[in-house]
């Protein structure tokens, strides 16, 4: 159910983003989606690729600080209130949403968001109880290829 996201530590300076992106390009690893969080001196690049283990190894080998984290790909209805519905399910559960970003795939009136919860396992249980669709990587990549 969980999806591995790679996070990279980058200094906030010209060219910092190019290095990992070029490395992935050279290894023909496609970035499915990404998000960047930035502070004044540094930032975090978060990205999703198909073969996260190979990408992690490659980036580390080239001297980058990389961390693999579990995130959830959640199906969200593409109409007003779709996201509110998902968030309502975790309200009052004590689960904290650290951050989220979109996954560029929209089919049959449904889109996908990637959620990073402080407790992903607990979140899966809560969401499934509310009949919210959490998609594993196999399913997500299958839909992407369809």
């Amino acid at each position: 159910m969980k999806l591995k996201q790679l996070s990279l530590f980058l200094e906030n300076k010209p060219g910092a983003l190019s290095a990992p992106v070029k490395l992935l390009a050279g290894a023909k690893i496609n970035i499915l989606t990404l998000s960047i969080a930035e502070a004044r001196q540094y930032g975090i690049l978060r990205l999703i690729v198909r073969d996260w283990a190979a990408a992690k190894k490659l980036l580390e080998k080239n001297g980058l600080a990389v961390k693999a984290t579990d995130v959830l790909a959640i199906e969200v209805a593409d109409h007003p209130g779709g996201l509110a519905e998902v968030l309502a399910a975790i309200e009052d559960t004590g689960i904290n949403l650290e951050y989220m970003y979109a996954f560029p795939l929209k089919r049959d009136g449904k889109g996908f968001f990637l959620f990073r919860f402080d407790d992903p396992d607990k979140a899966i249980g809560v969401l499934q109880k509310s009949k919210i669709n959490v998609v594993g990587n196999a399913e997500l990549f299958r839909r992407l290829d369809a």
Binding site: S7, E11, A39, G63, A65, V66, K67
Partner: protein
């Protein structure tokens, strides 16, 4: 048997015999050698003759070891002022080797050796290797620089005298160092501790697991380091890290070396007489009290040194060591009186920053201290490399890391630094001595 099995009582090794002399015999030997050496220095070196005469002293006045405290000091300035050959006590025809310092601060200093001096140096380096359990059959990768720097050749001769196999790889080319470590079944390595950290990093990146290699000992010296750094090295590489101490002015590496107890280097007192003094007053410090190390060579012919002020801060201990050596020990040198930095009037040593950083879980000892002055106020920025171990995927996590590092440094030094997190490998790796402080203050 694990590669680290240490026998409580080492089997008798004739190489190490002088390390176990009964103290009274050792003192007699020291006095005899001291008297001979002072006479030579007085007769052959203008500086020593003038300094002693100024105090109304002549060689015959040295009647006991305690009389050494009446002799004048000398220091690095004297070596610079007498550049290049002014302190030689022997004619060039008897001198078989010259070395020189790299001259990081001003003019280099030149040191000279007669054949006898080389033999003494070889002897103490050989005993250094034996002290940490190396012997014939060991393969020593000598990554100290060969050349004018004393590290390379000193370790080289000592290793060969031990009967070990020496690989004179010298410093640099880390990928090749790792290939040789692995392919040649190396069992011991000599280099600076900071360079070995770099080797650990690179080995991980190359997918070489140092813990699986026959490598079991590191003979580390030539720069100040800390106990936390030793623990770090031992944990990440699976080897035992031994502290060797020396300086070119006295002979090179091999003035003092640790035994398997790893409780501070034993001074080879049959050749070097140690004192620890209060830097400000010049008065001797009692056993266990920190001060500046002062060394006197007891049988150096080409260039004797009387009460040389090393600027290295340590404490002397005569407490018996578990290994049975009667040689006194010094505390690991983690700072020098001249690498002290003064920030807003507070004295800070780079080693304190290192210790503070390593207290934070997962932090690596890759750091640099940048000093600036803004509107007349000193600012200390500590740049710390972020690694996969400490890195968090959330901003909150990184802010917490920054706060923990800041707090730890503040607790240790009393100064609040600006901690800047930087990408791995952004700090230039040294292949010799690490550059820890960049002082950009305009005084």
């Amino acid at each position: 048997m694990s590669k680290h099995t240490i026998q409580k009582l080492a089997p008798f090794d004739p190489i190490s015999a002088p390390d176990f002399l009964p103290p009274s015999q050792l003192r007699d030997l020291q006095l005899e050698r001291l008297r001979g050496m002072v006479a030579q220095a007085f007769n052959n070196v203008t500086l020593f003759r003038r300094r002693m005469s100024d105090r109304g002293m002549e060689p015959g006045d040295v009647k006991s070891l305690d009389d050494i405290t009446r002799l004048p000091f000398c220091d690095k300035t004297d070596l610079r002022d007498s550049y290049p050959f002014g302190l030689f006590a022997r004619p060039m025809s008897e001198i078989v080797r010259l070395h020189a310092s790299t001259g990081t601060t001003g003019k280099p200093i030149v040191v000279a050796y007669t054949q006898q001096d080389i033999d003494v140096w070889t002897n103490v380096m050989c005993r250094s290797f034996a002290a940490c359990g190396l012997h014939r059959g060991d393969i020593i990768q000598n990554a100290y620089g060969y050349g004018l720097f004393t590290g390379g050749l000193g370790a080289h001769y000592g290793g060969e005298a031990l009967g070990a196999t020496v690989i004179p790889i010298s410093g640099g080319n880390t990928q090749r160092q790792i290939m040789v470590l692995k392919d040649f079944n190396v069992t011991a390595i000599c280099c600076t501790p900071s360079y070995f950290l770099h080797i650990i990093d690179q080995a991980a990146e190359l997918g070489v697991n140092l813990k699986e290699l026959p490598l079991r000992a590191g003979v580390f010296g030539a720069e100040p380091w800390t106990e936390s750094m030793r623990q770090h090295i031992q944990r990440d590489s699976g080897i035992k890290a031994y502290d060797i101490y020396g300086l070119s002015e006295i002979i090179g590496p091999g003035v003092a070396m640790e035994c398997p107890c790893q409780a501070g280097p034993h001074i080879f007192e049959d050749f070097f007489y140690p004192e620890v003094i209060d830097s400000a007053t010049g008065k001797p410090c009692p056993d266990g009290v920190e001060g500046e190390l002062v060394l006197t060579t007891l049988s150096k012919h080409a260039m004797p040194m009387i009460r040389y002020r090393t600027r290295d801060i340590t404490a002397l201990t005569s407490e018996p060591c578990g290994c049975g050596r009667t040689l006194r020990r010094i505390k690991r040198i983690s700072r020098r009186s001249d690498d002290m930095i003064i920030i807003r009037g507070v004295n800070v040593y780079p080693s304190q920053i290192e210790t503070a950083l390593l207290k934070v879980e997962g932090a690596q000892p890759h750091y640099q201290i940048i000093l600036t002055r803004e509107k007349g106020l000193d600012e200390m920025e500590v740049q710390v490399e972020v690694t996969g171990d400490v890195f968090s995927d959330t901003m909150g996590g990184l802010e917490q890391l920054q706060a923990r590092l800041t707090k730890s440094i503040e607790t240790t030094t009393g100064l609040r630094p600006r901690v800047r997190l930087i990408q791995p490998h952004s700090i230039q790796r040294s292949e010799g001595k690490a550059k820890r402080v960049i002082d950009q203050r305009k005084m």
